[in-house]
Amino acid sequence: MSKFIKAIFVLASFFSFSVLAEISIIVHPSNAASVSSDDVSRIFLGKKKSFSDGNTVVPINLKEGSDTRETFNSTVLNKNSSQLKAYWSKLVFTGKGAPPKEVASAAEMLKLIANNPNMIGYLDSSAVDASVKVVAKY
């Protein structure tokens, strides 16, 4: 019985951990631009196309269905996935914009951001390493 309770406890703490996962916004280590939380949201909604220093910004998304992306959508962009889909379909089908490019994994995200000063991405804080610079946490 106590094993069972323990298992539930472990499961519950794991669950709450994944819900409370912290998101880190990451850029290339050489990128010195300041990035406010408004900027992050504008960049990922296609409204802002350059960093504060004037360099072009290219946002990178994790693939659809990823838990980290869901958390990013709800905490940073304040939208659920169907609202975002409706938002992008308004832009995509009217020639006004295209959604950010996607990568399949955290490793791919790290590799891209670490090699391109124009890119900005996000990861679960636990997946971030020293190859990138964290500009904000949520």
């Binding site: 169907s82 409706a86 379909s89 089908f93």
Partner: protein
Amino acid sequence: MNQKLKLLCGACLITSSFYAAADIRLNGFARIAAGKTLSDDQNHMGYDNKLDFRNESLFALQVTGDMGDGLSATAQFMARGEDDFAVEVEWAYLSYQLTDSTRLNAGRLRIPFFRYSDFLDVGYAYTWLRPPAAVYDLPYTSYDGVSLLYNTYMGDADIEVQAFTGAAKDTISVEGAPAETELADVYGANVTFNMDWLYLRGVYLTSKATFNVGAPAFQGLISNLEAAGQAEAIDQVLVNEDTGSFAGVGVGLLFGNLNLQGEVTKVGVADSFIADRTRSYVSASYQFDQLTPYVLIQKIDDEANLDGANSIPDVAPLAGLKAGLAGFLQDQENTEDGKYYSVGFRYDFHPSASFKTDLTRWKGDDGEDDKVLTFAIDMVF
């Protein structure tokens, strides 16, 4: 290496680099809709009293080639059930990002008459089953021309300014017969102001309108006016390079999950038989997670353009002609005026698809009273 081979290799390189640089994107959307009127033998919004699956169903595929450096080409192919699913090019344009905030589009584009004009057919992008029919009741959806789009923001507000020019053509039904119509020299501008809880929009455009109306009743009227020597009345009735204008405002308010919105539009074609149109709607919807019920009220309040009849002198021999023309012109208002009342809901049953149901009642000022029930599934992919 001989010259020929060198040239060939050069060509190979160029071709392969074109392929590598162009990033091709495919997107699409589809709608399957079924509807019927609830009365005996009337037609409304394309439906009669037998369940119909074609009238508002459609399938669209969009191809975008992104050449990099802000240049892209897009074509949207659409097959509509009401046209027997014949494929038509709805949009086809080049887009060039001039600066971070300015984009130039050229080709076949959507005329931004209304808030939802740009994505009229993308049901997934809005809550209602269909955009408000009384207001969104203009034949032209696309034009051929250019559009300059400027985006900026002030504090929390996004501001978008669009200027456009071009020409549009469409065959519409006038007095029960097809009429070829044309809008030439379209010039317009459209400004939207958008923040979290507030949306404001204004649009104005002018154009030279020409309608070639072949309906026998209309032709008969014109020949009677000719026979009576009423050239001025003819001029006041025919739509021949007459100045048309369109003005519209839109407002949207978002309080948490409650969304209130409305639009008012005014359309007129000077010196023509076309009535001055005033159309409006107000709507409320409330989002409970995946389910969003809505109500929508629309009003058509047109005003007949009686100038043609008024130009005929008040003399006994012309009384019949004058009354006939006045009746025809007045009908342009009387057969249109009325109100629509709609209730419905959107249910997001899948991340890329929603199910909608709508019940709309039409109450015409002429006594017509009808209901249309429609179901639809909207998808984007």
